[in-house]
């Protein structure tokens, strides 16, 4: 039996889909059998970020309503043999499926795959309930902003009332220089409020935007700081102890380099 992990946040635009795509790909990189499930019906994005949009034939709604078999709807990734994606429908809305239907699909996938990463839509309505229905674990994504932290807190409260016991936190889009000047919340501020286990921190990286537009998950590019962060997160999911990335030191090294040339 595999493990189903839902990636959720409450607030939109904090990087749920990017996180889902990159964690999924990173797990595949580590040789795991992974299936990504997009539950953002009506506003699907995961296929675009993965660069698999043009390969979609059937979607989650088709499976739920019995128009096709589950295997027919799964899209195989172009980079990995063991990475698949179940796309959401773009035509319907969140109410087109019930939590029970999603749960059945996830249960079926768990027989076949080691990790099922479920990309949750923003909000706390039907779409959210669908996404968490089949999940065993949850990853809450937030950015170091008060609004995102507030919504993440709400989501954690809702998750604690569901069957999912202890959600894990990913703090996305950290800008070290802004944290230093005190213009951005730092990790400790976020953790103090949310008070859940930290799974990883991801620095803000322009390469992520570039990667999303080209349909190539960032994690494939080892040059990117964000890629390293996502790979670390994947290793922590597998149970490895990986120390948190030292964002400061990276910059420090760069500064030292600049200093060496008399620029800093």
């Amino acid at each position: 039996m595999g493990e189903a992990i839902v990636v959720t946040s409450g607030k939109g635009g904090v990087g749920k889909t990017t996180t889902s795509a990159n964690i999924g790909t990173a797990l595949a990189l580590l040789g795991k059998k992974v299936c990504l499930v997009d539950t953002d019906i009506g506003l699907r994005n995961l296929d675009v970020v993965m660069g698999l949009e043009n390969r979609i034939i059937y979607d989650l709604i088709d499976v739920a309503e019995g128009r096709c078999r589950l295997n027919q709807a799964l899209v195989k990734d172009k980079r990995f043999d063991e990475l698949y994606m179940l796309p959401a429908a773009q035509t319907k809305d969140k109410n087109a499926v019930t939590p029970e239907q999603v749960k059945d699909i996830v249960l079926e996938l768990k027989k076949e795959y080691e990790y099922i990463i479920i990309d949750c839509p923003a909000g706390i309505e039907q779409g959210f309930r669908n996404a968490i229905a089949g999940a065993d674990q949850a990853i809450v994504v937030t950015t170091p902003e008060n609004a995102a932290v507030r919504d993440a807190d709400r989501i954690i409260g809702l998750l604690e009332n569901s069957q999912i016991s202890s959600p894990k936190l990913v703090v996305n889009r950290i800008r070290t220089n802004m944290v230093k000047t005190g213009d951005m919340l730092d990790i400790d501020d976020v953790l103090q409020v949310l008070n859940i286990d930290l799974l990883g921190i991801v620095p803000d990286d322009e390469l992520v935007i570039k990667a999303a537009n080209t349909g190539e998950p960032t994690v494939m590019n080892p040059e990117s700081m964000a890629a390293i962060a996502y790979r670390n997160i994947a290793r922590r999911i597998l149970g490895d102890t990986v120390p948190l990335m030292l964002l400061e030191q990276k910059q420090g090294r760069f500064k030292r380099f600049k200093k060496f040339f008399g620029m800093g």
Binding site: R150, D151, D153, R154, I156, G157, L158, V193, L194, N195
Partner: protein, 219 residues
């Protein structure tokens, strides 16, 4: 005997009668007036088929003997069947002595309500709400909203190890930091009302505001 004052109000409800007893007069006056009303002025209304009766004492604190004396008068009327006796005063008396302890975390969107005094071990996050008819004492950070004395008790206080709320309410008074509060130190603090204004002070000064709380005096 004629009773001019009206300490006993008899109200008809859908399925019975409600006896409202004034909670500001002497208890003896209540007994006299009740006896008078049952035997004289309202005699004709109160005889006949069996009627369910709800007894309400308001905020009065009644002892068991007093309560029995009053109920005995009602019981003498065979057709009055006492269905409930509402004595919020007695409940408050018990509750002020006690303090309920709760533990956990009030997250955004969650509401914790308690009747009486509450000791909460944990954090209240922004967007979370704690409401209480009595005092709210928080061992942890109060970053959300706390409303003490929600039923109108202006004596209620709100204390927290880390007091950084989005809003504080005591009884009917609403206050928000920082424009209404003066500069504070970073020790455990509590909020209280003075002349209808929210005030913040160090926890050690709680005694000045609430001398009724148990006081520990070292030897």
């Amino acid at each position: 005997m004629t009773v001019k004052s009206n300490h006993v109000t008899i109200k008809g409800i859908k399925d019975g009668l409600v006896f409202l007893f004034d909670d500001t007069c002497e208890f003896g006056a209540l007994l006299d007036e009740l006896r008078y009303k049952l035997e004289h002025s309202h005699q004709n209304i109160l005889t006949g088929p069996i009627i369910h009766v709800d007894v309400k004492f308001g905020m009065r604190i009644v002892s068991d003997e007093e309560k029995e004396a009053l109920l005995d008068i009602l019981r003498q009327k065979g057709n009055l069947l006492i269905r409930s006796v509402d004595t919020p005063g007695m409940i408050t008396e018990e509750d002020t002595a006690k303090i309920a302890t709760m533990c956990g975390m009030v997250r955004s969107g969650q509401v914790l309500h308690h009747e009486g005094n509450l000791l909460f071990l944990g954090d209240v996050n922004p967007g979370g709400t704690v409401t209480c008819t009595g005092d709210i004492l928080i061992m942890g950070a109060l970053r959300g909203m706390a409303h003490a004395g929600i039923a109108g008790n202006e004596e209620a206080v709100i204390a927290a190890s880390y007091l950084a709320p989005t809003q504080l309410r005591i009884a009917e008074i609403i206050s928000r930091p920082p424009d209404e509060w003066e500069n504070r130190e970073t020790s455990m603090e509590f909020a209280f009302l003075r002349d209808g204004q929210m005030q913040i002070d160090k926890i050690t000064n709680l005694l000045r505001v609430r001398p009724d709380l148990n006081v520990f005096k070292g030897v």
